[in-house]
């Protein structure tokens, strides 16, 4: 780290690598942004033994599970079987998730992928038991290289993909719920101001605000009738209002 950074009061680390670096190279308080929850926890796990009480927090990139479930219910009320792929080393509480989904009247087919060679088989297996695929921030599965093939396979199975960013939607996902950098920046700046006042960092938090994107073309191709964005938001607010 540069001397300038060493004298700072707070490091805002953008992304996984920056977070990892800041956490390992200094004892300055760190606010990690634009980092998935799993990534943050991974970076944290690496440094936790020596700095258990250090000041470090995050604003996650990914959306809380509840919000995603709400979004699923609002967009695809008829598709109840959710498919989920995850790397074998991803820290994901599949059982909890399955329970949450079940509470909302759906089912979850999850499959761990051990290597990229198994991806297609796993995908086939998951898709044969589901009618919507839910993407998670898992870079070894949802990579630039794989996304096209995943989309094609899901399309072949008639199962739409719920993505994690506008890039997913552009690539062929049916829809995505995410927070834009602007939204995240607003939240981060609020946290910074709070830190400046109190010298305290809040605990890790999910984004406060979100954005919805849909791909009407994919919807038409898959024969899905999508509600308007306003309707979706409305539905989410009514169903998931209690989480807010």
């Amino acid at each position: 780290l540069s001397p300038d950074v060493q004298q700072a009061d707070l490091i805002i680390a953008v992304g996984f690598k920056a977070t990892e670096l800041a956490a390992s190279q200094s004892s300055i308080p760190v606010l990690a942004v634009m980092i998935p929850k799993t990534g943050y926890e991974e970076a944290l796990a690496k440094n936790s033994p020596k700095n258990s009480n250090r000041k470090i927090s995050a604003i996650y990139l990914d959306q809380p599970w509840d919000r995603q479930i709400d979004f699923w219910r609002a967009v695809l009320p008829d598709r109840l079987r959710i498919g989920l792929l995850h790397s074998s080393d991803t820290h994901l509480d599949v059982a909890l998730l399955r329970q949450v989904v079940a509470q909302r009247g759906g089912s979850l087919a999850a499959q761990a992928v051990h290597s990229s060679a198994e991806l297609f088989t796993a995908l086939e297996s998951v898709l044969s038991n589901s009618d919507v695929l839910l993407a998670i921030p898992d870079s070894s599965i949802y990579s630039s290289s794989n996304i096209r093939n995943i989309l094609l396979t899901s399309y072949r199975h008639g199962a739409p993909l719920i993505g994690l960013s506008p890039a997913y939607v552009n690539a062929g996902a049916l829809c995505a719920i995410f927070s834009t950098p602007e939204q995240l920046a607003v939240q981060a700046s609020a946290t910074v101001i709070s830190f400046a006042r109190t010298g305290q960092l809040p605990g890790p938090q999910y984004p406060d605000t979100y954005t919805i994107a849909v791909n009407q073309q994919v919807a038409r191709s898959l024969g899905v009738k999508l509600p308007s964005q306003e309707a979706i938001r409305g539905l989410m607010d009514t169903t998931g209002g209690r989480d807010r």
């Binding site: 953008v14 992304g15 996984f16 690598k17 634009m34 990229s116 060679a117 297609f120 870079s139 949802y142 990579s143 630039s144 290289s145 794989n146 996304i147 096209r148 093939n149 094609l152 396979t153 994690l164 960013s165 890039a167 997913y168 552009n170 690539a171």
Partner: protein
């Protein structure tokens, strides 16, 4: 050194650079086009491979063989594509389609053993093919085919701006085999088309050169023909050419001028030659016999006078050796010296005895001249002959008149003296005696007076004949005029007495024979009219000689004195001098 015609030179000079240019351009063009064709084939193959790689991505990802097979078949529809192989990440063959070069096509993948064998060969072959190309060497070119390798990599769809750039993993590869057959055919077509058009292009300048060179060559041929004609002596030859080439026209003008001059000079020369020939012919036909003998000494020509003299016509002698004319009177030495003279001085003249066709020998005055060419080589010999038979006869007659008695044909006094001198010299050498008998008829004058000179002459002739009959051939009987005769005896004996005895015997014999009666026919107008019988004795004086103790005249005088002694003693007697 090999020679070329002008046309060949012109063609060489013009066509060679043209040909060189054409071949160079053609080579450049063809190389350019061929490499362009090769590049085009490669590029197309690469594009097809790229498209195929893109299209195969999902098939490889999903291991969907049917899907890949369809894509491969689609690629095979492309021109020149004859084989497609799709490999997975570990270079395992997912799909191979098409007809690879050197691999049998197994359209209906039968289950029988033979087909299984074929399949094995095919997969082995395909397995080898895939070894030929890889990511680092994506193009393999053989003479018949082109192998193009293209990796299959997942199409990248960026999901997160902050996503770490992980390396792009290759998930497979496609290998496309492009056949060079069509390209080869195109090349071949292009080659022949270019060669054909080049030839067509060359025909034009060739025709142009042909026509242009004809403009030069036909006048040159005319000039050449004219020159040859002039060379053959056809001096009336003129050449007219309508050449566009200035030099040739000048040349033709020059040649015509030359021919004109030659012709004029030829006419003059001919006239002179004719004159010379005419003169020579006239000179040749002189009254002298002329013979021309060539350098090999064979007769070339003779004139009419020759024929008149020898009796041989020109046909008889031409090509023969002059030896045929020889009389045989002369020995080899004579002819050798004759030729020596000709060779040394170029000339010989002298008397020569030749023989006529009739076989008669005759004397001729010959004049032989060697005619030499410039440089001294003998061209021929000219011999002229004058028949000197008549002259010779006249000469002999004159000689005869000088030395012989006209009436009796006996040697006269002069000749006797001459012979006496010779005999005296011979006697001196041999040591043997000779004798001179002086004979005078005793009563000759009365006969002459009674019957005339004709009868007297007859008697004298008879006396001469009787005298000749009495002596040897070596002896001489001479008449001294009137009725005086002298007989000279040669080579009597070495002993004087014996010689006197022999001379006396002969003298007595003469005296006796002369004393016999003479029957003389008196002729008038060629007819015997009267016959006269006459008797006439003789007085004989003898003197012997053996050397030059006395002169011939003295010996004659002494014999004469002895004869007068005989007359004085009573006539019809023989008396020795001294």
């Amino acid at each position: 050194m090999k020679q070329y015609s002008i046309r060949q030179h012109v063609a060489l000079l013009t066509l060679t650079p043209l040909l060189f240019l054409a071949v160079s351009l053609e080579t450049f063009f063809l190389r350019d086009r061929f490499s362009a064709l090769d590049i085009e084939l490669t590029e197309r193959g690469r594009l097809i491979a790229q498209q195929l790689a893109l299209g195969s991505e999902y098939g490889v990802f999903s291991d969907n063989r049917i899907f890949l097979q369809n894509i491969a078949q689609g690629a095979l529809q492309q021109t020149d594509v004859q084989g497609v192989i799709v490999l997975d990440a570990s270079s395992g063959i997912l799909v191979d389609a098409g007809k690879f070069f050197g691999v049998q096509q197994d359209a209906s993948a039968g289950a029988d053993a033979a087909m299984l064998g074929a399949n094995q060969t095919r997969s082995a072959r395909v397995g080898k093919l895939k070894e030929l190309v890889n990511l680092r060497m994506p193009v393999y070119r053989s003479s018949e085919a082109l192998l193009i390798y293209h990796p299959i990599v997942p199409a990248q769809v960026v999901l997160e701006e902050l996503e770490s750039r992980t390396e792009i993993r290759q998930i497979g590869a496609v290998i496309v085999e492009m056949s060079s057959a069509r390209t080869g055919q195109l090349k071949s077509q292009m080659f022949w088309l270019t060669v054909g058009s080049t030839l067509l292009f060359l025909i034009f300048p060739f025709c142009l050169i042909y026509l242009a060179s004809r403009n030069i060559i036909s006048p040159i041929h005319k000039l050449r023909d004219a020159m040859l004609a002039l060379g053959e002596g056809k001096l009336e030859t003129r050449v007219s050419i309508s050449a566009h080439v200035k030099e040739l026209e000048v040349l033709a003008y020059g040649m015509n001028e030359m021919a004109e001059k030659l012709q004029q000079e030829s006419v003059t020369l001919h006239q002179r030659m004719e004159d010379a020939v005419r003169i020579a012919a006239l000179a040749f036909e002189s009254h002298e016999g002329m013979m021309i003998v060539d350098a090999d000494r064979l007769i070339m020509r003779v004139n009419k006078a020759f024929t008149r003299i020898t009796g041989y016509t020109e046909e008889d002698v031409v090509g023969q050796s002059p030896h045929m004319l020889s009389s045989g009177y002369h020995d080899a030495g004579f002819y050798a010296s004759m030729w020596d003279s000709i060779n040394a001085t170029g000339l010989w003249q002298g008397e020569i005895w030749n023989r006529r066709k009739t076989g008669e020998a005759y004397p001729a005055w010959a004049n032989i001249t060697a005619v030499e060419r410039e440089g001294g080589e003998v061209a021929c010999y000219v011999a002229s002959y004058t028949d000197i038979t008549l002259r010779k006869a006249a000469e002999n007659e004159i000689k005869d008149m000088a030395f012989n008695d006209e009436l009796t044909r006996l040697p006269n006094r002069r000749m006797l003296i001459d012979r006496l001198n010779q005999t005296m010299a011979a006697c001196k050498r041999s040591g043997r005696y000779g004798a001179l008998l002086f004979i005078d008829l005793d009563n000759f004058k009365p006969l002459n007076d009674q019957y005339g000179h004709e009868v007297g002459d007859l008697l004298l002739i008879e006396v001469a004949n009787r005298l000749i009959s009495c002596v040897r051939e070596v002896d001489t009987v001479a008449r001294f005029g009137g009725d005086e005769f002298v007989v000279m005896l040669k080579e009597l004996d070495a002993d004087k007495g014996a010689s006197i005895a022999q001379a006396e015997i002969i003298a007595e014999k003469i005296r006796a024979i002369l004393a016999e009666p003479y029957t003389l026919a008196l002729c008038k107008d060629g007819h015997a009219i009267t016959t006269v019988t006459h008797q006439c004795t003789s007085s004989i004086g003898v003197q012997l000689f053996v050397g030059h103790e006395a002169s011939a005249n003295e010996i004659i005088k002494q014999a004469d004195l002895a004869m007068y002694q005989a007359k004085k003693d009573g006539r019809n007697l023989v008396r020795f001098y001294g």
